[in-house]
Amino acid sequence: MLAPGFADPVHGAQGTFRAVMNALARPGLLQPLDAGLKPPAPLTPELAALALALTDADTPVWLDAGLAASPEVAAYLRFHTGAPLTDDPARAAFAFIRDPARCPPLARFAQGTPAYPDTSTTLVLALDRIANGEGLHLAGPGIKGPTRIALSPLPEGFLAQLAENRAGFPLGVDVILTAPGLVAGLPRSTAVTES
Amino acid sequence: MYVAVKGGEAAIDNAHRLLAEARRGDPAVPELTVAQIRAQMALLVDRVMAEGSLYDPDLAALALKQARGDVVEAVFLVRAYRTTLPRFGASTPVDTGAMAVARRISATFKDLPGGQVLGPTFDYTHRLIDFALAAEGAVEPAAEAEPRDDADTCPRVTDLLAQDGLIEPSPPDDGAPAGDLTREPVDYPADRALRLQALARGDEGFVLGLGYSTQRGYGRTHPFVGEIRVGDVAVEFVPEELGFPVPLGRIRLTECQMVTQFKGSGTAPPQFTRGYGLTFGQSERKAMAMSLVDRALRAEELGEPVASPAQDQEFVLAHCDSLQATGFVEHLKLPHYVDFQAELELVRRLRAEFFRDSDSMQEAAE
């Protein structure tokens, strides 16, 4: 019995999109995200909401090992989005990562090209906790005043990878962070430092 | 004294009512029916379908009625409607070789299997206005031909030439899905399939002018009409869960195969090359012009210098769409007074400086 998608496909998708749009426009700031989904494990409600709102037959999707191993997750995504699954991160328009600690290095995903930097992968990570006011320091477009974000778990080497990603601007991936009921954004334009 | 007044909404409503009245004209004159337009202005309907990219003769006829006969306006209505339709996928490629031909001619051979079938055409008429048409009356029925089994006896001229290797082969179908410029933005250089799609939808006048230019030295292609055929073809679709083709109906198409400048190399013997044109309905002028421009746009692929407008991909594809063209040209009617004010301010300032400078120069001279 397949788990349902958005109760209201039009407004569920729109509401999710606005939360993500605000998250990328104001990097690091937490946006509420409650799409009311109950997808098959290990997909989280937030990952599912983003997949349903943003992916379809035109966007190859990469799933991390935990998600890819679940036939229910594959069936759920195929049914509700029609998105083709790819096992090559460099061909993915979207990458969903349930286990951030084991997230592949950002450099393995599509980086875009100098003429078309928009063709890079958008990563969506499911974290246990995101909080403002502590943790990493953020600077760049969309950020007003000191902005800090604490991530848990923090993928190993993530800070160095984000720095490398930022150094490659305008190429680079864009990262969307989710936690229960929340979404935050780290577009490639954001500089992330320890202090 | 100027008083800020709101009136835009009321003005628009009144304009719409006036338009509806103007469209209908004198109520004492019988109203045009969609059926009349479809049947008796069929070539106009065909053009609206071709540029609207939607095969629906009744809809195109209705659009023409609503548009008061303005072709581009009618195309606009059809395209805006098309945007709202759900897409289920692509049909299998239509087989024009199996066309039930109503008309089929070739300029490259005097006679050929299947024969020269003139069909309904203006080509041999004398363009003398027939005032008898002003009075409606019955038309003398044309003679009926013997029924023919077209599939066997109407092979394509280009296939006949290809048998002897005289013409380049048709590009092979590698099974890759055809691009669709209505769903993805065009990225240059665009492949031939996308270029043909743009030309098929393109404004007939613009494509005609470009095709004409190639005949006058702006990118010469030495064209011969290998074949023009007009007739009905079957359209089929393969639903994923059935796995076999399902017929959807028949549509009328015009196909033009242009045989063009031969080329060879040190390692390959010379062959004729091709230009291709295809339109909905009977639109020979468009199909022919399209085939000339198609061939011109292949200049780079065929190792010819790209020197003239019809060979310039970006120029042709960016400007051949009548809706884009008319939208931007006609948008000049929209208010631009804010930007004009900015220009006024600058010109006034420059003029003030000019006169001030020339005054002071005069004073210095005195």
């Binding site: 729109q14 035109d58 477009p141 601007f169 | 945007t83 339709l85 994923e240 960016a318 930007d339």
Partner: protein
């Protein structure tokens, strides 16, 4: 109608026909009064709310098109000032008349939004009226003329005088998104120039104006540098409005339908008008205040009063002017 138009296609029930793109509305897309009844609309999709006019998907666009535009918007925000290509759809209004702005607004619009639409700064110019009506009909959302009440403001050629705040989104209608287009007509070339951040030709052109006229001759659509990287066309707003773009609390989205490009400036982002040390950027000055409300430092429209050349200058931003007059401000009412 062929059989193709009648097959049901919903978002959350099995689609028998994969391979095509999901989504689709199914109803007559025309907005203006029709002269014949439209064909019957396709049955509304399961769970899908119609707009106020039966048969339209909310805000007219099908969900597949909205997804495509939304993805483009997200990438545009991530790379400020860079033009993201998107597959612009045919809309019921002509290319060149705001279809890009309309598609962006339609993609972001939600039930709770309040929409303001202006053209040349005014809410009641015919094109603004037409677009506002379009959204009212196809989505049923609330509309307003008050800048302070709006959550989304779609605009042609002006930025409102009232400072925008966090949470507002300004959607610009853009005719020619490419700031280098008049120096280099080819897209293949301008893509490379942006990739390499090679903007020398633009600086040369501006400086040539200075040598010829003593001033930079660009008075609207004045090019800006965004977040220190991409040179961007702010749309044909008068250069007077450029400073409002810098560090705005609002999100600024730009839609070019005919040219098929979307770009964005996030809030609190640097937007710097191109200039030179010896010729710094300057905005237009008006010699007199608004004749109706007395406002100074705002952009004014010139009204011709008679053929003797008498004229009057009034606020271009009609909402701003009305608000000031409602607060008791009065201009001199004098013609010049």
């Amino acid at each position: 109608m062929s059989a193709m138009g009648m097959l049901p296609q919903t978002e959350s029930s099995p689609s028998p026909l994969r391979g095509g793109v999901r989504g689709g509305g199914g109803a007559d897309g025309t907005v203006e009064p029709r002269s014949a009844p439209p064909p019957p609309p396709a049955p509304p999709r399961k769970g899908e709310e119609s707009g106020s006019e039966a048969g339209y998907n909310f805000a007219y666009l099908d969900e597949g098109t909205k997804r495509m535009i939304r993805r483009a918007i997200l990438k545009a925000i991530a790379v400020p000032g860079y033009q993201v290509p998107f597959a612009s759809r045919e809309m019921p209004m002509p290319y060149g008349w705001g279809t890009g702005g309309v598609q962006v607004t339609a993609a972001i619009l939600g039930r709770a939004d309040v929409l303001k639409v202006i053209d040349q700064g005014a809410d009641d110019t015919t094109n603004a009226v037409s677009i506002r009506r379009f959204f009212a009909r196809t989505s049923g959302i609330a509309t307003t003329t008050r800048t302070t009440e709006a959550t989304i403001i779609q605009t042609r050629h002006r930025i409102p005088e009232t400072p925008l705040r966090e949470g507002q989104t300004l959607v610009y209608q853009v005719p020619i998104p490419e700031p280098l287009r008049f120096l280099e007509p080819r897209e293949t070339e301008t893509r490379q120039l942006h990739a390499l951040a090679e903007y020398g030709a633009m600086h040369v052109k501006l400086y040539e104006d200075i040598s010829r006229h003593g001033h930079i001759a660009t008075t609207y659509a004045y090019p800006v540098e965004v977040a220190g990287r991409y040179v961007m066309d702010p749309s044909p707003t008068p250069k007077f409005d450029n400073p409002k773009m810098d560090q705005s609390p609002a999100l600024q989205l730009f839609g070019a339908g005919r040219e098929r490009r979307i770009y964005a400036v996030p809030p609190y982002t640097s937007v710097r008008s191109l200039d030179f040390e010896d010729h710094p950027f300057r905005v237009q000055q008006f010699d007199q205040p608004c004749a109706l409300c007395g406002a100074e430092g705002v952009y004014l429209d010139e009204m011709l009063l008679d053929d003797a050349g008498r004229r009057m200058f009034v606020c271009s931003d009609t909402d701003h002017c009305e608000g000031r007059r409602a607060d008791g401000h009065v201009g001199t009412g004098d013609a010049v």
